[in-house]
Amino acid sequence: MSTRAKIASAVASVGVLALGWQVGTANGQALATTQTTMTTGTGNTTTTTTTGNTTTTGTTTTKEASTTTAAAASASGLTDGTFTGTTATNRYGSVTVTVTVASGRITNVTAATTATDDHSAQINTRTVPVLKSEVLAAQSASISTVSGATYTSKAYVTSLQSALDQAAA
């Protein structure tokens, strides 16, 4: 279960209408939160994610939308305060999401992870789902060598590594 999915399940129980997040963490610290707006239409749900430096799409978001729509039906707005979601637990530890609402807007989302051991606390959020556009792009000019799935001698001829070797020869 991904961190984002864990947070999704925890947040759903808070009954929050609009929520998105970015989990970008290092050494167990939750480093970033995002602001999200969700509009609920008739019969279907549209999720628009507005963030400073990230977007969330894909299967996980769809799952989140479906779980929070039920809550949305009974919620007319956001009440100011700090809300702590139900703790989601898996075999590596647990995640508790806390949401802060001020003036009807979400101002902060934090995900506290408690792990079965200290090392898990660090790694729980280390490798996170991202979009292709969020991954560090290669600077072709500075590439020394290329890592990829094992190529055969025949396939090597048309590989990027072959091009690098040729260029240096």
Binding site: M1, S2, Q22, G24, T25, A26, L31, A32, T33, T34, Q35, T51, G52, N53, G58, T59, Y92, T107, N108, H119, S120, I123, R126, T127, V128, P129, V130, L131, K132, S133, E134, V135, L136, A137, A138, Q139, S140, S142, I143, S144, T145, V146, S147, G148, A149, T150, Y151, T152, S153, A155, Y156, T158, S159, L160, Q161, S162, L164, D165, A168, A169
Partner: protein, 260 residues
């Protein structure tokens, strides 16, 4: 830099170093050649083929064979079975770990030759040491699994690091799955040594997100995993606009902006 490119183990090996002497070239070929002779399944006269046919039982195999077999079984235990030397048809296939051992052996050759700046790439698995000639770090490009002529990302190595990629793109589904997990189509792992990087890349490819979590919990590694449906899982080192050194300062600012 000097560059030595040769064929071994059904793929191509590229070695870069300041100067690679004829003796070092012979030794590099021998490291790969000796392991290939013993462990190839493509030649019926190899020891591995004899074991595969059950003409030779593992307990009666050579010490060299059993050392590698035991190492692979150790890794099977350590990865909860995600990495395994046993194919579904029962054949013992050590070729993955053998290539990693050949890279490690090549590193020994270069170290023994007094070289401290070098880069070894064997069929897409990479081990680097030191820096390039000009003092800049070795930069390892990572192939885009959707387009093998393009790069998905890169990794700048701060000293000796191993970068191994396992995937289904080049040789087909040569990595057999432990379960029905086909979440990932390509997995790159950065580790301190090439055997760890190679084994864990294979384990995560085979075992999916559970294996990824298990690997992250037990080893100090960086991971870039590409799901078959286009999703990616990435360690912070692979995130755009967040160099490892700057991320601690930049990110809180970014989050405040996002909230405001």
């Amino acid at each position: 830099m000097d560059r030595f490119v040769f064929e071994a183990m059904g793929t191509v090996v590229s070695v870069q170093a300041a100067t690679i002497s004829d003796a070092a070239r012979r030794d590099l070929r021998r490291v790969f050649g000796d392991l290939e002779d013993r462990f190839t399944l493509y030649r019926p006269d190899s020891e591995a083929s004899a074991v595969a046919r059950r003409d030779l039982l593992v307990p009666h195999a050579s010490p060299e064979y059993r050392r590698v077999y035991d190492l692979a079984v150790d890794w099977r235990e350590r990865t909860d079975g995600s990495f395994t030397p046993h194919r579904p048809d029962g054949v013992i296939d050590l070729s993955g770990i053998v290539k990693a051992l050949a890279i490690a052996g090549s590193a020994d050759v270069l170290d023994a030759a007094g070289l401290d700046r070098w880069c070894i790439n064997a069929g897409g698995d990479v081990l680097v040491s030191g820096t390039q000639d000009d003092g800049n770090p070795w930069v390892v490009g990572i192939v885009d699994p959707d387009d093998r002529t393009a790069l998905l990302s890169q990794y700048s190595a701060p000293g000796r690091r191993a970068v191994a990629t396992s995937g289904t793109a080049e040789r087909g589904e040569h990595v057999w799955r432990t379960g029905a997990n086909a979440t990932f189509g390509q997995v790159t792992v950065v580790a301190d040594d090439i055997v760890t990087a190679d084994v864990l890349a294979t384990a995560i490819l085979a075992g999916g997100p559970d294996a990824l979590e298990h690997a992250q919990r037990n080893w100090s590694i960086e991971v870039l995993a590409c799901a078959s449906d286009g999703r990616l899982w990435a360690s912070p080192v692979f995130h755009a606009e967040r160099t490892p050194a700057a991320s601690a300062e930049q990110t809180p600012t970014a989050s405040e902006d996002a909230v405001g």
